[in-house]
Point group: C2
Chain length 246, copies 2
């Protein structure tokens, strides 16, 4: 059972990989860890598969590249090995109950680079968890944005994607739930708070209910373990009922 | 007239800023250049406003951060100065015919960090040009993805966003145009090539015609100057007819 955490730098991918892994281990499951981030210096878990064995972003910076070029360049170097990585991850999956994949610090490296796309093509039935943190949710339209972003990840990776708000211990969860769980409420609020992009936002929000698979949004805290049972349930349902995540 | 180029690392933002700037200057216009990338080492143009005067990503790496942390951290440090940057850019705009803004190497730094969002809130009527390159277009569903990605940028930045394929001198342009200009054709093709995410892709593509503002897609080459006249026209129409980019 392979779960992959996708999200921008700072959304909590690495911390959650560690915390959810520990949660599963404490329940008696065996867990494999995969690190796909060439730019991370310290990990709070011991990866079984780690792209930094082949290349690191700071190694390429020592060769003279800037940080952006080094990040992209590191995945260029990994690309010829993508099948090998997929095989190692599948082997790990056959040996453990769960495999948790921690993706590149910069999400776009995973969504726009052939390394990320080809890896996912070679790993059938992965469940992607799209992590976003409360800081990016200021206005009603921001909730519409994250729901759409979840759909575009699904579209890009061709894999079932569950949106998950992280760091829920630090925020007013009820306010977020109202917008994220009730798309009709969200649409109504966007309608009454027209901004510069008002009409497009309203149009986009309005079609969300018909577009979104009936996927629940998860609410997670790596600190308190809140929502981990829900994540475990969603993962179980994904693998056992083939995609019905209501 | 402020144009901002948005796109992933490698999509051609910096090269296009230089090439389109030179095109405008050769037509007799005055052009201001803004660099918002803390991670770029060498620029092919002389920026009038440059965030690297305040902070660089590699400077933060020398303090011990990894490349991802350094990129995000550099915008944390710029955040208190965001109004000052907006004022400088507006002043530049009042002195020049055009201002071209080159955004962070990693697009998500601009779309997910408060620095990018607040800067755009403080700059009214900016036209965003979403750059994507031919490498990311392999399957019909990829065209659907880039069209949706353009919409989510529009939604996030609250600014009119024109999608633009770059590096058209390197690719089979006719194939790309068929998919990008004719959404009905695209939808039909996605329907007949069901992949893992087939149903969602088809649903998303189907609603594109009603969601997309009637924006033409631009086809640009920094090398040959192809499409520059179209870009100039679209910018002119944006400022003179308030958003009708058909």
């Amino acid at each position: 059972m392979i779960l992959t955490f996708v999200g921008t730098a700072g959304s909590g991918k690495t911390t959650l990989t560690r915390a959810f892994g520990r949660y599963l281990e404490e329940k008696g499951y065996t867990v494999g860890y995969v690190n796909l981030d060439t730019g991370v210096k310290m990990l709070p878990y011991s990866p079984d598969v780690d792209v930094r064995e082949d290349v690191t972003a700071w190694g390429l910076m020592e060769e003279g590249l800037g940080p952006n070029g080094a990040i992209v360049g590191s995945y260029d170097r990994l690309l010829p090995k993508v099948s090998e990585y997929a095989e190692r991850i599948l082997r790990l999956d056959s040996e453990r109950d769960y495999v948790l994949m921690d993706t590149p610090g910069q999400m776009e490296t995973f969504l726009f680079h052939d390394f990320g796309l080809r890896l996912m093509e070679n790993l059938p039935d992965v469940l992607a968890v799209y992590l976003f943190s409360p800081e990016i949710l200021r206005k009603p339209v921001d909730y519409c944005f994250v729901r759409f972003f979840g759909l575009t990840i699904d579209l890009r990776l061709g894999t079932t994607t569950v949106p998950a708000l992280t760091k829920v211990d630090t925020t007013d969860l009820e306010r977020h739930r109202k917008y994220l769980d009730d798309l009709d409420y969200l649409t109504a609020r966007v309608k009454f708070e027209p901004s510069m992009g008002g009409l497009l936002a309203y149009r986009l929000c309005s079609v969300l209910p018909e577009l979104s698979p009936p996927t629940r949004v998860l609410y997670l805290s790596a600190l308190t373990g809140e929502g981990f049972e829900d994540l475990e349930t969603v993962a179980y349902e994904h693998y056992c009922t083939c995609g019905d995540l209501t």
